[in-house]
Symmetry: C2
Subunit: 254 residues, 2 copies
Protein backbone atom coordinates (compact mmCIF):
# COMPACT_ATOMS: atom_id res chain seq x y z
CA UNK A 1 0.00 0.00 0.00
CA UNK A 2 1.17 3.53 -0.79
CA UNK A 3 0.68 6.51 1.47
CA UNK A 4 0.28 9.69 -0.55
CA UNK A 5 0.11 13.21 0.84
CA UNK A 6 -2.03 15.50 -1.31
CA UNK A 7 -2.07 19.31 -1.30
CA UNK A 8 -5.58 20.51 -2.11
CA UNK A 9 -7.03 23.89 -3.03
CA UNK A 10 -10.76 24.43 -2.88
CA UNK A 11 -13.52 26.99 -3.05
CA UNK A 12 -15.62 26.10 0.00
CA UNK A 13 -18.66 28.13 -1.13
CA UNK A 14 -20.62 25.18 -2.35
CA UNK A 15 -19.65 22.72 0.39
CA UNK A 16 -20.66 21.82 3.92
CA UNK A 17 -17.01 21.91 4.92
CA UNK A 18 -14.21 19.41 4.44
CA UNK A 19 -15.29 16.47 6.60
CA UNK A 20 -17.45 13.76 5.11
CA UNK A 21 -21.06 13.87 6.40
CA UNK A 22 -23.83 11.56 5.26
CA UNK A 23 -26.27 13.25 2.89
CA UNK A 24 -24.29 16.51 2.67
CA UNK A 25 -22.00 17.75 -0.08
CA UNK A 26 -18.52 18.04 1.48
CA UNK A 27 -15.09 18.44 -0.07
CA UNK A 28 -13.72 15.18 1.31
CA UNK A 29 -16.93 13.33 0.47
CA UNK A 30 -16.91 14.60 -3.10
CA UNK A 31 -13.26 13.70 -3.65
CA UNK A 32 -13.75 10.20 -2.27
CA UNK A 33 -16.87 9.65 -4.36
CA UNK A 34 -15.47 10.99 -7.63
CA UNK A 35 -12.02 9.41 -7.35
CA UNK A 36 -13.51 6.11 -6.16
CA UNK A 37 -15.83 5.96 -9.17
CA UNK A 38 -13.07 7.00 -11.57
CA UNK A 39 -10.50 4.46 -10.40
CA UNK A 40 -13.07 1.84 -9.38
CA UNK A 41 -11.44 1.36 -5.96
CA UNK A 42 -12.55 2.63 -2.55
CA UNK A 43 -10.80 5.93 -1.73
CA UNK A 44 -10.45 7.27 1.79
CA UNK A 45 -8.81 10.57 2.62
CA UNK A 46 -7.64 11.86 6.01
CA UNK A 47 -7.50 15.64 6.03
CA UNK A 48 -5.21 17.86 8.10
CA UNK A 49 -7.99 20.34 8.94
CA UNK A 50 -11.75 19.96 9.24
CA UNK A 51 -12.59 23.26 7.58
CA UNK A 52 -16.14 24.51 8.18
CA UNK A 53 -18.89 25.09 5.63
CA UNK A 54 -17.93 27.99 3.37
CA UNK A 55 -14.25 28.08 4.42
CA UNK A 56 -11.74 27.99 1.55
CA UNK A 57 -8.33 26.37 1.23
CA UNK A 58 -5.18 27.14 -0.69
CA UNK A 59 -3.23 24.37 0.96
CA UNK A 60 -5.33 21.72 2.68
CA UNK A 61 -3.40 18.48 3.10
CA UNK A 62 -4.80 14.96 3.13
CA UNK A 63 -3.26 11.50 3.16
CA UNK A 64 -4.53 8.75 0.92
CA UNK A 65 -3.67 5.12 1.56
CA UNK A 66 -4.10 3.33 -1.73
CA UNK A 67 -3.08 0.53 -4.09
CA UNK A 68 -3.43 2.90 -7.04
CA UNK A 69 -0.55 2.58 -9.50
CA UNK A 70 -0.51 6.13 -10.87
CA UNK A 71 3.06 7.56 -10.60
CA UNK A 72 3.17 10.25 -7.93
CA UNK A 73 4.19 13.06 -10.31
CA UNK A 74 1.14 12.35 -12.47
CA UNK A 75 -1.35 12.29 -9.59
CA UNK A 76 -2.31 16.00 -9.62
CA UNK A 77 -3.16 15.95 -13.33
CA UNK A 78 -4.93 12.61 -13.26
CA UNK A 79 -6.94 13.48 -10.14
CA UNK A 80 -7.90 16.88 -11.55
CA UNK A 81 -9.13 15.25 -14.74
CA UNK A 82 -11.26 12.92 -12.63
CA UNK A 83 -12.53 15.80 -10.49
CA UNK A 84 -13.54 18.05 -13.42
CA UNK A 85 -17.28 18.16 -12.91
CA UNK A 86 -17.98 19.86 -16.20
CA UNK A 87 -16.59 18.48 -19.43
CA UNK A 88 -17.03 21.87 -21.04
CA UNK A 89 -14.98 23.75 -18.50
CA UNK A 90 -12.67 20.92 -17.52
CA UNK A 91 -12.59 22.55 -14.13
CA UNK A 92 -13.75 21.74 -10.66
CA UNK A 93 -13.89 23.91 -7.56
CA UNK A 94 -11.42 21.45 -6.01
CA UNK A 95 -7.86 21.18 -7.31
CA UNK A 96 -5.06 18.84 -6.30
CA UNK A 97 -1.94 21.00 -6.58
CA UNK A 98 0.73 18.56 -5.39
CA UNK A 99 1.29 14.94 -4.34
CA UNK A 100 4.13 13.31 -2.44
CA UNK A 101 4.92 9.69 -1.54
CA UNK A 102 5.15 9.36 2.27
CA UNK A 103 6.38 6.56 4.54
CA UNK A 104 3.86 4.13 6.00
CA UNK A 105 2.16 5.53 9.10
CA UNK A 106 2.49 9.20 8.15
CA UNK A 107 -0.78 11.04 8.80
CA UNK A 108 -1.77 14.47 7.44
CA UNK A 109 -3.28 15.64 10.71
CA UNK A 110 -1.43 13.83 13.48
CA UNK A 111 1.99 14.56 11.99
CA UNK A 112 1.35 18.22 11.29
CA UNK A 113 3.52 20.71 13.21
CA UNK A 114 1.13 23.59 12.67
CA UNK A 115 -1.08 25.51 10.28
CA UNK A 116 -1.38 28.94 8.81
CA UNK A 117 -4.77 30.53 8.18
CA UNK A 118 -5.47 33.81 6.43
CA UNK A 119 -8.63 35.77 7.20
CA UNK A 120 -9.58 38.24 4.47
CA UNK A 121 -11.58 41.38 5.18
CA UNK A 122 -12.74 43.91 2.63
CA UNK A 123 -12.93 47.23 4.44
CA UNK A 124 -14.64 49.54 1.97
CA UNK A 125 -17.66 51.80 2.13
CA UNK A 126 -18.83 50.17 -1.12
CA UNK A 127 -19.40 46.44 -0.56
CA UNK A 128 -19.13 44.14 -3.56
CA UNK A 129 -21.84 41.48 -3.66
CA UNK A 130 -19.62 39.29 -5.87
CA UNK A 131 -17.09 38.98 -3.03
CA UNK A 132 -19.69 37.93 -0.46
CA UNK A 133 -18.45 34.32 -0.42
CA UNK A 134 -14.77 35.28 -0.20
CA UNK A 135 -14.42 38.26 2.15
CA UNK A 136 -15.91 39.66 5.34
CA UNK A 137 -17.07 43.03 4.08
CA UNK A 138 -16.99 45.73 6.71
CA UNK A 139 -18.09 49.21 5.63
CA UNK A 140 -16.97 51.11 8.76
CA UNK A 141 -13.26 52.03 8.60
CA UNK A 142 -11.18 49.73 10.82
CA UNK A 143 -8.38 51.08 13.00
CA UNK A 144 -5.60 48.71 11.98
CA UNK A 145 -3.18 50.08 14.57
CA UNK A 146 -5.55 49.13 17.42
CA UNK A 147 -6.03 45.69 15.91
CA UNK A 148 -2.27 45.23 15.61
CA UNK A 149 -1.76 46.36 19.20
CA UNK A 150 -4.05 43.56 20.39
CA UNK A 151 -2.17 40.82 18.48
CA UNK A 152 0.80 40.25 20.82
CA UNK A 153 -1.56 39.13 23.61
CA UNK A 154 -2.69 36.23 21.43
CA UNK A 155 0.79 34.97 20.56
CA UNK A 156 2.31 32.23 22.71
CA UNK A 157 1.00 29.22 24.60
CA UNK A 158 -2.27 29.96 26.36
CA UNK A 159 -5.47 28.35 27.47
CA UNK A 160 -7.71 29.62 24.67
CA UNK A 161 -11.04 28.39 26.10
CA UNK A 162 -12.44 31.90 25.41
CA UNK A 163 -12.02 31.35 21.65
CA UNK A 164 -13.83 28.05 21.38
CA UNK A 165 -17.44 27.82 20.21
CA UNK A 166 -19.97 26.12 22.46
CA UNK A 167 -20.56 22.45 21.68
CA UNK A 168 -16.87 21.69 21.08
CA UNK A 169 -15.55 18.29 22.13
CA UNK A 170 -14.05 18.18 25.63
CA UNK A 171 -10.26 18.22 25.99
CA UNK A 172 -7.41 20.57 26.62
CA UNK A 173 -7.95 24.10 25.33
CA UNK A 174 -4.25 24.96 25.53
CA UNK A 175 -2.75 25.80 22.15
CA UNK A 176 0.31 27.63 20.92
CA UNK A 177 0.01 30.54 18.52
CA UNK A 178 3.31 31.16 16.72
CA UNK A 179 2.41 34.45 15.08
CA UNK A 180 -0.50 36.77 14.34
CA UNK A 181 -0.23 39.67 11.96
CA UNK A 182 -2.65 42.10 10.35
CA UNK A 183 -1.95 44.34 7.41
CA UNK A 184 -3.62 46.26 4.62
CA UNK A 185 -2.54 45.09 1.20
CA UNK A 186 -0.23 47.57 -0.47
CA UNK A 187 -1.77 47.08 -3.90
CA UNK A 188 -5.32 47.47 -2.52
CA UNK A 189 -5.70 49.23 0.86
CA UNK A 190 -9.36 48.10 1.10
CA UNK A 191 -8.09 44.53 1.55
CA UNK A 192 -7.06 43.57 5.07
CA UNK A 193 -5.28 40.28 5.68
CA UNK A 194 -4.99 38.66 9.06
CA UNK A 195 -2.37 35.89 9.09
CA UNK A 196 -2.20 33.46 11.99
CA UNK A 197 0.09 30.51 12.55
CA UNK A 198 -0.26 28.03 15.37
CA UNK A 199 0.32 24.47 16.52
CA UNK A 200 -3.36 23.63 16.25
CA UNK A 201 -6.66 25.47 16.61
CA UNK A 202 -9.86 25.02 18.59
CA UNK A 203 -13.25 24.91 16.88
CA UNK A 204 -13.97 28.36 15.37
CA UNK A 205 -10.86 29.77 17.05
CA UNK A 206 -9.55 31.80 14.11
CA UNK A 207 -13.01 33.20 13.37
CA UNK A 208 -13.58 34.23 17.02
CA UNK A 209 -10.11 35.82 17.27
CA UNK A 210 -10.94 37.71 14.06
CA UNK A 211 -14.31 38.82 15.42
CA UNK A 212 -12.66 40.06 18.61
CA UNK A 213 -9.99 41.93 16.64
CA UNK A 214 -12.61 43.51 14.37
CA UNK A 215 -14.49 44.76 17.44
CA UNK A 216 -11.16 46.28 18.52
CA UNK A 217 -10.72 47.90 15.11
CA UNK A 218 -14.24 49.35 15.37
CA UNK A 219 -13.35 50.94 18.73
CA UNK A 220 -15.72 48.70 20.72
CA UNK A 221 -12.79 47.23 22.67
CA UNK A 222 -9.38 48.51 23.73
CA UNK A 223 -6.37 46.50 22.48
CA UNK A 224 -5.47 45.52 26.07
CA UNK A 225 -8.91 43.98 26.45
CA UNK A 226 -7.52 40.98 24.54
CA UNK A 227 -5.32 40.03 27.50
CA UNK A 228 -8.30 40.05 29.90
CA UNK A 229 -10.47 38.07 27.48
CA UNK A 230 -7.88 35.29 27.21
CA UNK A 231 -7.24 35.24 30.99
CA UNK A 232 -10.99 34.94 31.67
CA UNK A 233 -11.22 31.65 29.68
CA UNK A 234 -14.84 32.63 29.11
CA UNK A 235 -16.33 32.52 25.59
CA UNK A 236 -18.85 35.20 26.61
CA UNK A 237 -16.05 37.78 26.90
CA UNK A 238 -14.70 37.27 23.37
CA UNK A 239 -16.12 38.74 20.17
CA UNK A 240 -18.45 37.48 17.49
CA UNK A 241 -17.64 34.60 15.13
CA UNK A 242 -16.41 36.12 11.86
CA UNK A 243 -18.18 34.80 8.73
CA UNK A 244 -16.85 31.56 7.21
CA UNK A 245 -16.27 32.93 3.70
CA UNK A 246 -13.36 35.16 4.77
CA UNK A 247 -11.33 32.25 6.13
CA UNK A 248 -8.67 30.51 4.07
CA UNK A 249 -6.56 27.55 5.19
CA UNK A 250 -3.26 28.68 3.72
CA UNK A 251 -0.73 26.03 4.66
CA UNK A 252 -0.12 23.01 6.85
CA UNK A 253 3.40 22.54 8.23
CA UNK A 254 5.25 19.25 8.76
Amino acid sequence: MRNILLTIKYDGSGYHGWARQPGLKTVCGRMEEVLGAYFKIPVELSGASRTDAGVHAYGQRATLITELGVPVEKIPRVFNTALADDRLEGLSDIEVTAAAEMPEGFHARFDSKGKRYIYRIRNSSAPDIFLKRYRWQITTPLDIDSMRAACPFVVGEHDFACFQSAGSPAGSTVREIYSLDIKRREDDPDEIELTIEGSAFLYNMVRIITGTLVETGLGKRAPEDMERVIASKDRANAGIVAPAGGLWLDEVFY
Copy 2:
Protein backbone atom coordinates in the same frame (compact mmCIF):
# COMPACT_ATOMS: atom_id res chain seq x y z
CA MET B 1 -50.68 52.34 -6.72
CA ARG B 2 -47.10 53.23 -7.61
CA ASN B 3 -45.08 51.64 -10.39
CA ILE B 4 -41.39 51.48 -9.50
CA LEU B 5 -38.57 50.40 -11.79
CA LEU B 6 -35.71 48.77 -9.90
CA THR B 7 -32.15 48.23 -11.11
CA ILE B 8 -30.80 45.03 -9.57
CA LYS B 9 -27.33 43.52 -9.34
CA TYR B 10 -26.93 39.90 -8.34
CA ASP B 11 -24.52 37.02 -8.06
CA GLY B 12 -26.44 34.20 -9.72
CA SER B 13 -24.18 31.44 -8.32
CA GLY B 14 -26.56 30.38 -5.60
CA TYR B 15 -29.81 30.75 -7.56
CA HIS B 16 -31.90 28.77 -10.02
CA GLY B 17 -32.11 31.87 -12.20
CA TRP B 18 -34.26 34.97 -11.95
CA ALA B 19 -37.76 33.67 -12.53
CA ARG B 20 -39.82 32.49 -9.60
CA GLN B 21 -40.22 28.68 -9.51
CA PRO B 22 -42.05 26.77 -6.79
CA GLY B 23 -39.65 25.02 -4.40
CA LEU B 24 -36.48 26.50 -5.94
CA LYS B 25 -34.33 29.38 -4.72
CA THR B 26 -34.55 32.07 -7.40
CA VAL B 27 -33.58 35.76 -7.36
CA CYS B 28 -37.10 37.03 -8.00
CA GLY B 29 -38.59 34.54 -5.55
CA ARG B 30 -36.14 35.53 -2.83
CA MET B 31 -36.74 39.26 -3.33
CA GLU B 32 -40.51 38.83 -3.23
CA GLU B 33 -40.35 36.65 -0.14
CA VAL B 34 -37.93 38.83 1.82
CA LEU B 35 -39.46 42.18 0.88
CA GLY B 36 -42.99 40.86 1.43
CA ALA B 37 -42.11 39.67 4.93
CA TYR B 38 -40.24 42.89 5.73
CA PHE B 39 -43.01 45.27 4.64
CA LYS B 40 -45.86 42.88 5.46
CA ILE B 41 -47.48 43.36 2.04
CA PRO B 42 -47.50 41.04 -0.98
CA VAL B 43 -44.65 41.98 -3.36
CA GLU B 44 -44.64 41.01 -7.02
CA LEU B 45 -41.80 41.83 -9.38
CA SER B 46 -41.77 41.66 -13.19
CA GLY B 47 -38.22 41.28 -14.48
CA ALA B 48 -36.84 42.45 -17.83
CA SER B 49 -34.85 39.25 -18.41
CA ARG B 50 -35.37 35.68 -17.23
CA THR B 51 -31.71 34.97 -16.55
CA ASP B 52 -30.82 31.26 -16.23
CA ALA B 53 -29.42 29.43 -13.21
CA GLY B 54 -25.90 30.68 -12.49
CA VAL B 55 -26.12 33.78 -14.74
CA HIS B 56 -25.16 37.07 -13.05
CA ALA B 57 -26.53 40.59 -13.44
CA TYR B 58 -25.07 44.05 -13.09
CA GLY B 59 -28.22 45.73 -14.35
CA GLN B 60 -31.32 43.57 -14.26
CA ARG B 61 -34.50 45.68 -14.26
CA ALA B 62 -37.82 44.83 -12.66
CA THR B 63 -41.05 46.72 -12.10
CA LEU B 64 -42.86 46.62 -8.79
CA ILE B 65 -46.49 47.72 -8.50
CA THR B 66 -47.00 48.62 -4.87
CA GLU B 67 -48.79 50.70 -2.25
CA LEU B 68 -45.55 51.01 -0.29
CA GLY B 69 -44.97 54.57 0.98
CA VAL B 70 -41.12 54.57 1.01
CA PRO B 71 -39.84 57.63 -0.94
CA VAL B 72 -38.25 56.50 -4.20
CA GLU B 73 -34.78 57.85 -3.37
CA LYS B 74 -34.73 55.78 -0.17
CA ILE B 75 -35.83 52.52 -1.81
CA PRO B 76 -32.36 51.11 -2.63
CA ARG B 77 -31.11 51.54 0.93
CA VAL B 78 -34.30 50.31 2.58
CA PHE B 79 -34.60 47.31 0.25
CA ASN B 80 -30.93 46.39 0.73
CA THR B 81 -31.34 46.49 4.50
CA ALA B 82 -34.30 44.13 4.14
CA LEU B 83 -32.38 41.85 1.76
CA ALA B 84 -29.26 41.54 3.96
CA ASP B 85 -29.38 37.86 4.79
CA ASP B 86 -26.67 38.06 7.37
CA ARG B 87 -26.78 40.61 10.16
CA LEU B 88 -23.05 40.29 10.61
CA GLU B 89 -22.16 41.11 7.06
CA GLY B 90 -25.16 43.31 6.32
CA LEU B 91 -24.79 42.09 2.78
CA SER B 92 -26.79 39.98 0.42
CA ASP B 93 -25.84 38.54 -2.97
CA ILE B 94 -28.64 40.69 -4.39
CA GLU B 95 -28.38 44.49 -4.41
CA VAL B 96 -30.90 47.10 -5.53
CA THR B 97 -28.72 49.82 -7.05
CA ALA B 98 -31.40 52.27 -8.25
CA ALA B 99 -35.14 52.93 -8.20
CA ALA B 100 -37.28 55.22 -10.35
CA GLU B 101 -40.97 56.14 -10.25
CA MET B 102 -42.62 55.16 -13.57
CA PRO B 103 -46.03 55.97 -15.09
CA GLU B 104 -48.84 53.46 -14.71
CA GLY B 105 -48.64 50.70 -17.31
CA PHE B 106 -44.88 50.81 -17.75
CA HIS B 107 -43.41 47.28 -17.78
CA ALA B 108 -39.74 46.34 -17.35
CA ARG B 109 -39.80 43.71 -20.08
CA PHE B 110 -42.44 44.81 -22.58
CA ASP B 111 -41.18 48.38 -22.70
CA SER B 112 -37.51 47.52 -23.04
CA LYS B 113 -35.83 48.57 -26.30
CA GLY B 114 -32.98 46.12 -25.91
CA LYS B 115 -30.40 44.57 -23.67
CA ARG B 116 -26.65 44.29 -23.36
CA TYR B 117 -24.99 41.11 -22.14
CA ILE B 118 -21.32 40.57 -21.42
CA TYR B 119 -19.80 37.11 -21.63
CA ARG B 120 -16.54 36.76 -19.69
CA ILE B 121 -13.87 34.22 -20.62
CA ARG B 122 -10.62 33.64 -18.79
CA ASN B 123 -8.13 32.42 -21.39
CA SER B 124 -5.15 31.31 -19.36
CA SER B 125 -3.11 28.13 -19.18
CA ALA B 126 -3.53 28.31 -15.38
CA PRO B 127 -7.23 28.09 -14.47
CA ASP B 128 -8.36 29.64 -11.18
CA ILE B 129 -10.85 27.48 -9.28
CA PHE B 130 -12.09 30.56 -7.41
CA LEU B 131 -13.35 32.06 -10.69
CA LYS B 132 -15.26 28.93 -11.71
CA ARG B 133 -18.63 30.57 -11.01
CA TYR B 134 -17.75 33.80 -12.80
CA ARG B 135 -15.78 32.97 -15.96
CA TRP B 136 -15.61 30.37 -18.69
CA GLN B 137 -12.03 29.24 -18.27
CA ILE B 138 -10.40 28.09 -21.48
CA THR B 139 -6.78 26.96 -21.26
CA THR B 140 -6.08 26.72 -25.03
CA PRO B 141 -5.12 30.12 -26.48
CA LEU B 142 -8.03 31.66 -28.41
CA ASP B 143 -7.48 33.39 -31.75
CA ILE B 144 -9.29 36.65 -31.06
CA ASP B 145 -8.88 37.90 -34.63
CA SER B 146 -10.80 34.90 -35.99
CA MET B 147 -13.51 35.39 -33.40
CA ARG B 148 -13.78 39.08 -34.29
CA ALA B 149 -13.96 38.24 -37.99
CA ALA B 150 -17.04 36.09 -37.33
CA CYS B 151 -18.90 38.83 -35.44
CA PRO B 152 -20.21 40.95 -38.35
CA PHE B 153 -22.28 38.00 -39.62
CA VAL B 154 -24.26 38.02 -36.37
CA VAL B 155 -25.07 41.74 -36.39
CA GLY B 156 -28.37 42.85 -37.94
CA GLU B 157 -31.88 41.43 -38.19
CA HIS B 158 -31.83 37.68 -38.83
CA ASP B 159 -33.77 34.54 -38.18
CA PHE B 160 -31.64 33.16 -35.34
CA ALA B 161 -33.34 29.75 -35.05
CA CYS B 162 -29.84 28.19 -35.08
CA PHE B 163 -29.03 29.87 -31.75
CA GLN B 164 -32.06 28.70 -29.81
CA SER B 165 -31.93 25.73 -27.43
CA ALA B 166 -34.34 22.86 -28.01
CA GLY B 167 -37.52 23.05 -25.93
CA SER B 168 -37.96 26.80 -26.43
CA PRO B 169 -41.49 28.15 -26.75
CA ALA B 170 -42.79 28.44 -30.32
CA GLY B 171 -42.82 31.90 -31.91
CA SER B 172 -40.80 34.05 -34.26
CA THR B 173 -37.06 33.48 -34.05
CA VAL B 174 -36.26 36.76 -35.80
CA ARG B 175 -34.27 39.15 -33.61
CA GLU B 176 -32.09 42.17 -34.19
CA ILE B 177 -28.51 42.26 -32.91
CA TYR B 178 -27.27 45.86 -32.68
CA SER B 179 -23.62 45.09 -31.98
CA LEU B 180 -21.23 42.28 -31.07
CA ASP B 181 -17.68 42.93 -30.00
CA ILE B 182 -14.89 40.83 -28.53
CA LYS B 183 -11.75 42.14 -26.91
CA ARG B 184 -8.99 41.22 -24.48
CA ARG B 185 -8.90 43.49 -21.48
CA GLU B 186 -5.96 45.87 -21.61
CA ASP B 187 -5.25 45.60 -17.89
CA ASP B 188 -5.40 41.78 -18.00
CA PRO B 189 -4.91 40.08 -21.39
CA ASP B 190 -6.13 36.73 -19.99
CA GLU B 191 -9.60 38.25 -19.68
CA ILE B 192 -11.72 38.21 -22.81
CA GLU B 193 -14.99 40.13 -22.91
CA LEU B 194 -17.69 39.51 -25.46
CA THR B 195 -20.25 42.34 -25.51
CA ILE B 196 -23.53 41.89 -27.34
CA GLU B 197 -26.48 44.27 -27.68
CA GLY B 198 -29.78 43.37 -29.24
CA SER B 199 -33.52 44.01 -29.31
CA ALA B 200 -34.25 40.76 -27.50
CA PHE B 201 -32.70 37.31 -27.26
CA LEU B 202 -33.88 33.74 -27.75
CA TYR B 203 -33.43 31.11 -25.05
CA ASN B 204 -29.67 30.45 -24.56
CA MET B 205 -28.89 32.65 -27.57
CA VAL B 206 -25.94 34.55 -26.09
CA ARG B 207 -24.42 31.37 -24.70
CA ILE B 208 -24.74 29.51 -28.03
CA ILE B 209 -23.29 32.46 -29.97
CA THR B 210 -20.40 32.47 -27.47
CA GLY B 211 -19.90 28.72 -27.85
CA THR B 212 -19.82 29.07 -31.64
CA LEU B 213 -17.34 31.95 -31.44
CA VAL B 214 -15.10 30.02 -29.04
CA GLU B 215 -15.03 27.09 -31.50
CA THR B 216 -13.94 29.66 -34.09
CA GLY B 217 -11.22 30.96 -31.76
CA LEU B 218 -10.02 27.37 -31.24
CA GLY B 219 -9.68 26.91 -35.01
CA LYS B 220 -12.49 24.36 -35.22
CA ARG B 221 -14.52 26.68 -37.48
CA ALA B 222 -13.65 29.36 -40.03
CA PRO B 223 -15.04 32.85 -39.32
CA GLU B 224 -17.21 32.68 -42.48
CA ASP B 225 -18.84 29.53 -41.13
CA MET B 226 -20.95 31.85 -38.95
CA GLU B 227 -22.84 33.09 -42.03
CA ARG B 228 -23.73 29.52 -43.11
CA VAL B 229 -24.75 28.53 -39.56
CA ILE B 230 -27.23 31.43 -39.36
CA ALA B 231 -28.59 30.82 -42.88
CA SER B 232 -29.16 27.13 -42.07
CA LYS B 233 -31.56 27.99 -39.19
CA ASP B 234 -30.50 24.65 -37.73
CA ARG B 235 -29.39 24.41 -34.09
CA ALA B 236 -27.27 21.35 -34.97
CA ASN B 237 -24.91 23.54 -37.03
CA ALA B 238 -24.12 26.00 -34.24
CA GLY B 239 -21.66 25.50 -31.39
CA ILE B 240 -21.94 24.35 -27.80
CA VAL B 241 -23.79 26.27 -25.09
CA ALA B 242 -21.22 28.28 -23.12
CA PRO B 243 -21.39 27.80 -19.31
CA ALA B 244 -23.87 29.97 -17.40
CA GLY B 245 -21.36 31.47 -14.96
CA GLY B 246 -19.60 33.53 -17.64
CA LEU B 247 -22.77 35.39 -18.61
CA TRP B 248 -23.62 38.79 -17.15
CA LEU B 249 -26.77 40.80 -17.92
CA ASP B 250 -25.14 44.20 -18.14
CA GLU B 251 -27.92 46.64 -19.01
CA VAL B 252 -31.52 46.91 -20.18
CA PHE B 253 -32.38 49.83 -22.47
CA TYR B 254 -35.63 51.84 -22.51
